[in-house]
Symmetry: C2
Subunit: 256 residues, 2 copies
């Protein structure tokens, strides 16, 4: 299953979800490829890849029709990563003028998709060509939402964008389904957070994952040790929350 | 003085800074225009503008050479706002093929800049044409940085982008100067935060504003009441932190 982790709202936990969901799915025995489609390269650097020092990145893979994505895959423990770096900003600019600009990633994943049970795609906080490529390449979308006021408004905007992408002429296949809305950075003690969680559940009902990801400083610390939370502190609540979400994802994938 | 509030890292406090710095500068007696260059329209909605129901937005202003920005300025208390909404995503796509694509905002601000002491520009979490337009139109830049691992890395990327923009052929005038790096979401109790603050101060020395913005739930609550923190709870630490930063900005502006 190919899953986009997307939301144009910044800082809502896209990278933290991409990294820790990938790690959790791998721990549960699944073959996982994490594709970093964010020019910041945050997912890539979390797995210890020096993004300023790699020979190529997703930028070259998307722009060169003859370059197989397998030449940009690093094996890090039980996870495979296709990294990015800021060059991807220039690729997005150049893609604007190219043929099949929204389906480049979809084409590239064709050669490797059978080697993995899950392909997880981390996206930048925008709805430009990089996120559109991820949506067109995916069967499902997970939308991380932190419990802030701006994020509540942002869900509607992102869902509207998914509709737009699917209506545009380039899009021929089936539409990516919303696998779920994942509440992140949740804290029991925070009244605003509880109120926002209530509103999201009331508006989106079963689309919301049963396990909210609780605020846990170890989730924020793990990347500076170049680890997923599961590696850094497997007993931490953040790590166990992502393990629970991974189980929900597996269950949803089986139903398809 | 025209100031860009920018950083491609998502969720680092660009909107919270744009809104509360504008409010603080206005409380201190200055004439302020807040330009929302983020398609999410978060700054606009914070001042009670229904972004789905406005006759035009920055999108139309940027695309139509004959449309004066003054027709897209709302007066909200002692602040003026030039709002945006998700249409700005399409404007960014269309700008790619247009003449003078990086200096559209600079041109539009020429007709109103003398009416204001400060023009504050909120940016999306990206370094595409919208942020480039803001940089080209500005004399200075404030870079909000939350005390997370990914943000530390993001500063270098954003500074490199500012260099890039200024080297490109379209850029004829003087380069925007870095007015300062503003530490946001800071909490005394958080060890990682203290460590990151130390690293930012060591690397950027006097560029770092003396007043870090402390984490304060009232800063996150204020937008849901369609207020700045100063209006919502003027005695809160978040409001007073932004008042202090506004004083630093005024002092730096006087020196220029
Ligand atoms: N559950 C959590 N508990 C504590 N900190 C968290 C949690 N989830 C994310 N964070 C921290 O919040 C910040 C934002 O998260 P992250 O960078 O994953 O968001 P993002 O959506 O990928 O951001 P961007 O929009 O820039 O891509 C990071 O510093 C991260 O470490
Ligand atoms: N000092 C603070 N204390 C508490 N909450 C804060 C503080 N600053 C920002 N926030 C909250 O953190 C979240 C992110 O802030 P904000 O939306 O201003 O960041 P941004 O950089 O504008 O995000 P984007 O990249 O999406 O434009 C918001 O929910 C906001 O209310
Ligand atoms: Mg990210
Ligand atoms: Mg913002």
């Amino acid at each position: 299953m190919i899953i986009t982790i997307g939301n144009q709202k910044g800082g809502c936990g896209k990278t933290t979800t991409s990294v820790n969901l990938s790690a959790a799915l791998a721990v549960l025995g699944h073959r996982v490829l994490l594709v970093d489609m964010d020019p910041q390269g945050n997912s890539s650097m979390t797995f210890g890849i020096d993004i300023e020092d790699i020979p190529m990145s997703m930028s070259e893979v998307l722009l060169d029709p003859d370059l197989d994505i397998k030449y940009n895959i690093f094996k890090k423990g039980n996870i495979h990563i296709a990294p990015s770096n800021p060059n991807l900003n220039y690729a997005e600019e150049r893609l604007h003028t190219m043929e099949g600009k929204v389906s480049r990633l979809k084409e590239k994943l064709k050669t490797v998709r059978d080697h993995y049970d899950f392909i997880i795609i981390d996206c930048p906080p925008s709805i430009g060509l990089l996120t559109t490529n991820a949506l067109v390449a995916s069967e499902s979308v997970i939308i991380p939402v932190d419990v802030g006021f701006y994020s509540l408004v942002g869900i509607k905007q992102f869902l509207a964008r998914i509709e737009d992408v699917c209506k545009s002429s380039d899009f021929t296949d089936s539409k990516p389904e919303i696998l779920g809305i994942l509440i992140t950075l949740y804290s029991e003690r925070n009244l605003l957070g509880k109120e926002i969680l209530g509103k999201v559940k009331a508006a989106f009902k079963d689309l919301v994952f049963k396990t909210p990801i609780r605020r846990d400083i170890r989730l924020a610390e793990a990347p500076s040790h170049l680890k997923s939370a599961l590696e850094y502190s497997w007993s931490a609540r953040g790590a166990s929350d992502y393990l629970e979400v991974a189980k929900e994802v597996i269950k949803k994938a089986k139903k398809k």
